[in-house]
């Protein structure tokens, strides 16, 4: 943390409380929107996850001080992010059919 100054910290305490309030507000919004039936349930999922991602970003940036950290931490997180994205890509690949087999050319059953 770069801000060890007493006045800076006092200001930050107010910011923390404000962000906490916003997080609670967005929790109410998330719950409310889950009862609004959008054209598809996928839309509900998208909105819900977008709100969750926004809330998580607030926690990361403000509470975990990622808005002003040392570069080493960003490098560690970037490295992790690559692997997490890889994990989710694997799910996508599981929907493909890599074992699709068209049969041997010229071979007919019984021969």
């Amino acid at each position: 943390m770069a801000h060890d100054n007493h006045d800076d910290l006092s200001k930050h305490v107010k910011t923390y409380m404000k962000i906490g309030g916003w997080l609670i507000f967005f929790t109410f919004v998330t719950v409310g929107l889950s009862f609004v039936e959008l054209p598809t349930h996928g839309d509900n999922l998208l909105v819900g996850m977008a709100l969750a991602a926004f809330k998580a970003t607030l926690v990361g940036l403000i509470f975990m001080h990622l808005n002003h950290e040392r570069s080493l931490i960003y490098k560690v997180l970037l490295f992790t992010l690559v692997f997490v994205v890889g994990l989710f890509v694997l799910i996508y690949l599981s929907g493909q059919n890599p074992l699709h087999f068209g049969g041997f050319e010229g071979v007919t059953p019984g021969h």
């Binding site: 819900g48 969750a52 509470f63 931490i73 490295f79 992790t80 692997f83 994990l87 989710f88």
Partner: protein, 450 residues
């Protein structure tokens, strides 16, 4: 040995060592939960049943979300106050954080308890009924029990006695003398007499060795009066119309075996029924409930007519009905005062009259039940991933709270002599705590809302 860079930052990284450590740990945690979240997606996409949406009782999850957000604010405020040497405020914020963790875990325990006692029954036609068993649970009952055959190599003599509901059961010896068998010691002495040998009656192992040496496979006990048994299904291996075989190989024979399941029904779900009009549920619940269901379906279909009838949301509203009262008349008057039985733990609001006072009670032939379970991982993959994710998250809450508790209560000397070092420790503990909050931010909508 003095650990370097606990107060000041390393010149090359610009960070104190513990901070690098916690971020590396959090990176591994991101991978762990990332793997579990991808499992959630995999299970959801591949589910061959109607994935539960809005099935969990909302308020405990909602309150826990607020509680974790508050605790995230207080833990970062505790760190800031310690940096500013406002010790009283630091302590207050830390206590609030720890209390929040306690509240979170209490609510989690309340939720889990409700699921352990809530039962789902899938009938052979695909209809699902949910509810609660009466207080004694579901039991396979044997009446007129006359003989017990104990396999001397596998049976535990006390095993079958636990499920005998006749008080003071007595068996005849070969000489015809009645022998009370109300405790393991007496039973062992009795069997001991039936297996010749110079063994100690308190040792089951010796008895087995003696029986094996004499090639004696079993002993048969004859009851002096008819016995009754009520056995938990999981304790039986199989049963016929007149006998029950226990999991330890003991066979009890009698006049008749009754295998019926009493269920206090709180929801009917016909989404997977072969023919909802002739669903087995109506055979047990009766025509009045069927009519109530049809009216409910009609109302819901009207208010959800914008949906395609194949849409999962249409089916969720139209093809399921929660039951709120023991009779149709009461159910109709209470309509609107919906409450999910899902989180109700026995012994709370149902203490006076049990669940039977709130829901219709039916007796189902076991042959009509394809599968049953409490709302645990056995029920379906949704509950499997629910318990995995929330259980692991709960363990993180406990671990984080213990670390913060240690800093607050047992690190008093450091607070006086080296508060800057303690502030760094609290910052690191706080970073872990925020991560716990961050995971819950995703878990709450995925499990409770969407």
């Amino acid at each position: 040995m003095e650990i370097p860079y606990t107060r000041t930052n390393r010149p090359d990284t610009g960070l104190f060592n513990a901070k690098i450590g916690i971020w590396l740990f959090l990176a591994s945690e991101v991978m762990l939960f990332g793997g579990l979240f991808s499992s959630y997606i995999f299970l959801r996409v591949g589910a061959d049943y109607h994935w539960p949406v809005h099935e969990l009782t909302l308020w405990p999850g909602f309150v826990n979300t607020i509680v974790l957000i508050v605790s995230s604010v207080t833990v970062v405020m505790a760190w800031a106050n310690l940096k500013m040497r406002k010790i009283a405020q630091y302590k207050l914020c830390m206590w609030v954080t720890i209390i929040c963790a306690g509240v979170f875990m209490c609510l989690k325990a309340y939720e889990y308890n409700g699921k352990f006692h809530h039962i789902g029954v899938k009938l052979t036609d695909g209809t699902i009924l949910t509810g609660h068993f009466p207080e004694e649970g579901y039991r396979v009952k044997l009446k007129g029990g006359s003989t017990v055959t104990l396999n001397l190599q596998t049976a535990d003599p006390a095993y079958f006695l636990k499920w005998c509901v006749t008080p003071n059961p007595q068996f005849k010896t070969e000489a015809g003398q009645p022998q009370p068998l109300d405790q393991q010691g007496a039973l062992m002495a009795f069997i001991d007499a039936l297996v010749p040998g110079d063994h100690d009656s308190s040792s089951l192992g010796q008895l087995r060795r003696d029986a094996a040496a004499k090639d004696q496979k079993s002993v048969k006990l004859t009851a002096t009066a008819p016995l009754e048994f009520a056995v938990k299904e999981s304790k039986t291996f199989s049963h016929t119309a007149t006998s029950i075989t226990f999991r330890d190989g003991t066979v009890v024979e009698g006049a008749s075996v009754e295998d019926k399941m009493t269920l206090q029904v709180d929801k009917v779900d016909v989404r997977s029924s072969l023919d909802e009009d002739k669903a087995l549920a109506w055979h047990y619940l009766g025509d009045e409930w069927k009519k109530a269901f049809e009216e409910h379906s009609k109302e819901e279909a009207e208010s959800h007519k914008k949906f395609d009838p194949r849409d999962e949301r249409y089916l969720r509203h139209v093809k399921q009905m929660e039951i709120h009262a023991p009779t149709v008349a009461e159910h109709n008057t209470q309509h609107g005062g919906k409450h999910s039985a899902e989180a109700h733990a026995p012994g709370e609001e149902h203490a006076a009259g049990g669940h039977a006072a709130h829901y219709p009670e039916i007796v189902i032939d076991r042959k009509d039940v394809a599968f049953w379970s409490s709302f645990t991982p056995k029920w379906n993959t949704y509950y499997a991933i629910y318990f995995t994710l929330t259980g692991l998250h709960g363990m993180h809450v406990v671990a984080g709270a213990l670390v913060l508790f240690y800093f607050l209560v047992f690190d008093g000397r450091r607070l006086k002599e080296d508060p800057e070092h303690l502030a760094n420790r609290v910052e690191v503990g706080g970073l872990f705590w925020h991560f716990v909050d961050l995971v819950w931010i995703f878990l709450f909508p995925l499990l409770y809302l969407l």
